[in-house]
Symmetry: C2
Subunit: 647 residues, 2 copies
């Protein structure tokens, strides 16, 4: 091959070039690879055992099987994509009704067995995100508001009808003018003691309720967030059950509805916009668990602080973030299963008759394998979050942990999933663009995960704010950098990630102090540090991910341990490599260790190559949900002439 000979001659040409003295020797030659190789040989494991272990909750398998049974026996759940908005919505509501009729999801059980609810919903999300979002709006948002912001009278009146879809519900929080800042909403609820009614009103176009799921077509009641006024005194945001449609489907009196129209994804969800024209509702329609209005207009509450009361009213929303985190994990696993299987069977280039499977290309490995490792790693903190969220008798520490963890993990898991969908789409080439191969739908539908249930950047601020308070209260242990070089040692790894988090939190503290000292407001100081705040929130999630993965490794059987350790090493190297500038600029790693970590990624990919296919096939994703032809053992035959895929 003449090109080979030409390249061989490069070395001779290098010498006469003037600047050649500047050239470093090639890193691959200069690094002691013996440390990197051979450490991560993985012993065989039982796929079923790993599947159960990644599932986390012991009841998960049974719950998933129930959903699989329901979905498998009814062709309505088969993939279908080629529809306009009206058809999408009709299919979605029919699917939702089927699920509701099966009894597998109910509000009655929502508080009693939240784990069952979570696992059912994250499994349905794999079938059709529009379906799970439509059900989620009805149960997790509207129903949850009735259940956890209402009292017995509401439970008696509504729960049965919610559980049967007799009363399809919406959740009226977001307005055109106010999304992240819920306390800024403009809709008013004014108490009229003469009739013992609340008057719900939309004072401006910016106050219209916006993006309200189920509002455009099916919703009959809406849990409306509004500013409560009694005798011109403002009591802050409260939640009211407001009828928006009559049982015959016509719009309720003094309500106006418009459609949010076509979207990037989730076409099956009928998002709409609502205006209230001094609409009167009975006093009983106030969800009065945290604040009530007596007949004569006396306001009563167990939580005198407006801010704390508001906090209690939005606290039930945390469940949405837990669900997004868990769903992101599932969808990522499914996309990685599809792309990895294809990568092992798809061949391109190489010698004729013996073409090269594309997984053998380093560019492919470096895109897929760190993601596989990351998703294995993230399974552990997310499973832990699900457990503490489902804990029936939460301590106040539990409540705080759920808030912080769900904020951080929702942000990181949704971004990681978006990144995985992007990479897997590209790794599958043109096939990734076909709806048949399933990555496309998730990519469109789940794009909104970064925004709803709390914008990711806003959520990371919740994480960092908490760490700053911990530091201020003297409860945060600052950690020094580990200047060792044993990069596959857990103690080195965790200290390195702890050092970064701790360095960021103390930097943040000093920066804000410096701003305050210069006479700027806390808000200004906080805003000038938003880059550090974002980094800190992500660093926290990296750290708890490594910690909880390690707890999982310690508890795992001997046969699972080596594959989980390989994932840990690759996850660690990849995360650190992504942020190497920070570690080096702030002396968190020596140059030689940084170099070693960089080089370890290729070596760890080599270790992954023989096992990655088995690893994704050990993911806890129902095989019957994988319709993608490219994920089938003989994908070429899935494209034979005459085999129609109409969906």
């Amino acid at each position: 091959m003449d090109y080979e000979q030409r390249v061989r001659s490069i070395i001779n040409h290098l010498v006469p070039v003037d600047a050649s003295a500047e050239i470093e020797s090639a890193p691959v030659a200069s690094v002691d690879n013996s440390i990197l190789q051979g450490l991560n040989k993985v012993s065989k494991w039982d796929k079923e055992e790993l599947r159960d272990y990644l599932e986390g909750a012991p009841q998960g398998k049974v719950i998933k099987q129930k959903i699989i049974d329901i979905v498998s026996k009814d062709p309505i759940f088969l993939p279908k994509y080629n529809m306009n908005v009206a058809e999408w919505r009709e299919l979605t509501v029919q699917r939702a009704i089927k699920i509701i009729q099966s009894g597998v999801i109910s509000l009655a059980e929502f508080n009693r067995d939240p784990m069952k609810y979570l696992i059912s919903m994250e499994t349905l999300n794999l079938v059709d995100p529009s379906l799970s979002v439509k059900l989620g709006v009805h149960f997790s948002l509207f129903g949850n508001a009735v259940l956890n912001l209402g009292t017995e009278k509401h439970h008696l009146k509504y729960i049965k009808d919610i559980d049967t879809w007799k009363l399809p519900g919406c959740f009226g929080m977001t307005e055109l003018g106010h999304g992240s800042n819920v306390q800024g909403i403009e809709t008013t609820a004014t108490y009229d003691k003469t009739t013992q009614e609340f008057i719900i009103n939309t004072p401006s176009d910016s106050a219209q309720k916006f993006w309200i799921g189920n509002a455009a077509l099916h919703g009959q009641a809406c849990s409306v967030f509004a500013q409560l006024y009694i005798d011109n005194v403002h009591y802050g945001v409260h939640v009211f059950v407001v009828p928006i449609r009559n049982p015959d489907g016509t719009t309720a009196e003094n309500v106006r509805i418009m459609d949010n129209g076509h979207k990037l994804g989730l076409q099956g969800v009928d998002n709409g916009r609502l205006w209230f024209d001094n609409k009167r509702i009975p006093r009983d329609n106030l969800l009065n668990k945290f604040g009530d209005v007596e007949k004569d207009g006396t306001y009563v509450t167990s939580i005198p602080s407006k801010n704390k009361r508001f906090g209690s009213m939005v606290a039930p929303l945390v469940g949405g973030r837990v669900l997004i985190s868990a769903s992101a994990l599932n969808v990522s696993k499914m996309a990685l299963m599809i792309a990895t299987r294809y990568a092992y069977s798809r061949k391109q280039f190489g010698s004729k008759g013996n073409e090269t499977p594309i997984i053998e290309y380093l560019t492919h490995q470096r895109r897929l394998f760190p993601m596989i490792a990351s998703i294995v790693a993230l399974s552990f903190p997310i499973n832990h979050l699900k457990q503490i969220y489902c804990e029936p008798n939460k301590t106040s520490q539990n409540v705080k942990d759920v808030h912080v963890w769900s904020s951080g993990l929702k942000a990181v898991a949704s971004w990681t999933k978006t990144n995985i969908l992007q990479l897997t789409r590209e790794c599958c080439g043109g096939q990734g663009f076909s709806s048949f191969n399933q990555i496309a739908l998730f990519k469109s539908d789940l794009e909104i995960d970064m925004t709803y249930e709390g914008d990711n950047h806003v959520l990371l601020q919740q994480v960092s704010r908490n760490l700053l308070v911990e530091l201020q209260k003297g409860r945060y242990n600052l950690v020094s950098a580990n200047h060792g070089s044993n990069i596959f040692d857990y103690d080195f790894q965790i200290q390195t990630l702890k050092w970064r988090e701790s360095n960021l939190v103390s930097t943040l503290s000093s920066k804000i102090m410096a701003q305050l000292d210069q006479g700027r407001s806390l808000e200004q100081g906080w805003n000038s540090c938003l880059d550090t705040i974002t980094l800190l929130g992500k660093a926290f999630v990296d750290r708890i991910t490594l910690e909880y993965l390690q707890i999982g490794i310690k508890k795992a059987s001997a046969s699972l341990r080596s594959v989980l350790e390989l994932c840990r090493n690759l996850y660690f190297s990849w995360r650190v490599n992504e942020d190497l500038g920070y570690f080096l600029c702030h002396d968190g790693l020596s140059h030689s260790t940084a170099q070693k970590i960089q080089d370890s990624i290729n070596a760890l990919c080599q270790d992954m190559l023989p096992i990655a296919l088995d690893l994704v096939n050990s993911f806890n994703i129902p095989e019957s949900f994988i319709h993608a032809p490219i994920a089938k053992p003989d994908y070429m035959s899935e494209f034979r002439y005459g085999l129609e895929r109409k969906y």
Copy 2:
């Protein structure tokens, strides 16, 4: 505010913590900010002047205006999204026919005025990517093959019918089994001298033509890539005009067609799959510019090497990469205009009645501003690429430059655009998810840009391969690192980027040598370096981008210079910051300079804040194409009750 006081007390709490000695002082305090501030004050500029300057080609404005006129006077071009696949395709073909009837695009002009073709197509892409892709398949691929692989007999026979859409065409290159590796395709063309016909055959399901635009519905002829055999001798890939449908729309004899079905985007393009069953076509249907078969079966060619002949046959495809680069630039500009305008008018949080425009949040600035700067920067090398591509009498250096630049810029521009669409989608929150705000459609439709016309990772290998050959031939100047610290000085900046490129190319060379010395094949050696190869390709594009931006700055009027310089500085800092680990690990920057570059990003964002809105409004994007309600001056009023947006 009690929280403020609590934060103030952090400083007191810091001292007693054990590890506090380890804490570095906050970077914001430790860096000499005086260097960073005040340098980038931007003087006023004329928006029209900048618009023309970013356009590059002097005729661009006139060509764009022609498209604007056609599109504005016909409601068929108004946005419409809510359609099933059949409706999408019907609308798209009707739009395509309107454009063709206007005469603005024609194959007759394709070679004569390629700049007009390019600018027309990149402008149409802003109206509807399905439209430009459908036209592109017909003109740039099918028509271009006839024009530049065929000879006079083909021109006489086909060009008129192509220009009138009487003969809608497809481009039959990709097969199910072979995408990137075109030389591996399996379709055969066997010459039968007894009848003077070629027999086109699909020998297996993996040989089916796949993803063929216009094939599912409208195409009548297809330029089919097939392996030529004469008397059992193989002559390599050749291109043949094969009828696939009769003028009445029925499928041609011995052809089978299937539909590729629903996709992530580009629903308006009817991609299909083709099988040929020993279909006979006249000898004249071989596009015979580079290789011909005489009546008696004698093969004649001016290019004896099979590989070189293949290179000539695929060379015309380079235009697609130029077009994707230019289109990516336009779409990025439009998305940035929409998101930036919204960011300056959208308010959230802050004090009541005086809420904070979201552009004032650093998280928002750090997402949008480096992207604005990058797109300004990329305008210059892409405009240069368009110019050298359109050069009528190309030198062999021109041809090589067009190949290398179009490969590198297509990859980087399409990834940058994808990144920008992602960031702008997120920056617009829920509004970014609405199709009305235009980012959604681009996000779905243009996702395939990374894959078609050459997979981005494969294209970057073309760039790196060229640099390696230059090095081997002694024509590559290796550059040493600049250890200065004047980060806003162009000489420092360009040397820093040149150093990285040069360090990567020499590293690559040594690594491959080391592999060969260990007895591995060149293929194995190349694959083991694909990470370095990818980095090198990107580093090359960063370097030429900075260089051509600087050429643009030097030629610019004094009034444009300061805004372009600010863009250059931000582009440089952002690119280096993204890869800081590399610079530090390989001693390309000192720690203090690296730190300064990191810190400069916030400072440069501050400099951008007063001008970014004017800057995006100076982008060369037709205002009449911006339908997004959130990009309008008073976006709230765009959502008033009763204002229907049916599309």
